[in-house]
Amino acid sequence: MKAIKCEALTKTYYRKKALNDLTFSVEENKIVGLVGRNGAGKTTLMKILSGFSKAKTGVVEVYGRRPFNNLFVSANTIYIDDQMNFPTTLMLNEILEEGRRFYHNWDHDLALRLFEYFGFHRKQHHNELSKGKESTFNMIVGLASRSPLTIFDEPTTGMDAAVRKDFYRALLKDYLAHPRTILLSTHHLEEMEDVLEEVVLLHEGSLHLHMSMDDLKEYSVGLSGKISEMEPFLQGRDVLYKQNRAVDDCYAVIRNDLTGGEYRQMQQAGIITSPVSASDLCVYMTSETSGKGSVDDVFERSADR
């Protein structure tokens, strides 16, 4: 059975399409990164999967059931974001106690050990926490729940670099001990790319790409060199991104389907090949269709006046 299945999923907010004909599925027990620019539809998708909001058209299934208003999906899914609303009257340890009462797979021991490790006090209240601490606490709830489908929406908001690192490590260790499906959206893809198995890239509400992280890292290659030398190589190729640099230099990202011979030719022509990180690639791939150019253009136009 698939953990997540979406078919032709569409969701509109005030006539604007937040999700547009989205079709993809995720197998059980994988860590999947959901990436895309701000407003690409990540949060909307995650809230539909958690049963909080309702798709307009299309099919969405979590473990074979429609998530909206479904107790089974709610019992087997947890959605963690930075706007978690816990009753202000409860102290942190009371919130953890409630988690234990609700979730069948809840690991209270783990919750308390993480709680201690990250330096929380039992008598603190959730609304008194700083942004980073709040995210850390929510993350503990998310991990301890051991939900078969665990959804993290920007879990690292406000966390400092050390805590983020601890989080990635904790996530991986707990996943290894208790494999489950984890869907995670992040703006720090470069920090956690090694932990992810698959990447789903959304762009303007549609699926742009869905592949394994290993494949994504080899998907493209960066070339830099003189424009005159580069042009013949770029002819007829799938150019994902191109940017002119100083004087006659140029940087381009193309699909990595070069043969050994072509590599040698390029090296002889003085073109330097370099790897493209998954996070850079995702940015490149979702920038070209906007038609607004780069942020440089904004300044160039104002300078002309």
């Binding site: 994988k30 860590i31 990635y168 490590r169 991986l172 260790k173 290894l176 790319e193 090694d194 932990v195 992810l196 198995e197 394994s212 992280m213 290993d214 890292k217 080899e218 090296q267 090949t273 370099s274 790897p275 990180s277």
Partner: protein
Amino acid sequence: MILDTDGMKPIYVQIAEWLESEILHGNFKADEKVYSQYKLSDLYNINPATAAKGLTKLAEEGILYDKRGIGKFVSPHAKQMIMDKRKNQTLKTLIEDLVREAGYLELSEEDVIRLVREAWKGEKG
């Protein structure tokens, strides 16, 4: 080993090469069980699927063999196979690079051989 996450070489290849080196150094002997994908994942902080890909690569090359349900084991001739592979591939590409670089620097064949001899002496003698 520290993983080079920004390099051109995929993580799973680095994992496979690390295992090869461990076999060469005798840390994994013939017919011994190697680390599982989960152990490797924990060790290098990578997704277990990536680690599995590294193991599969070695199994496909015959360096490891599979015992269903138990794990992957070192083939009896693994050490020899790795050495042959490295001689054939790694060394060959290294020498190709060397020759190309020498060409850019306008060195003659003799110059390169002399440099190799000197380096050899420095290493062994």
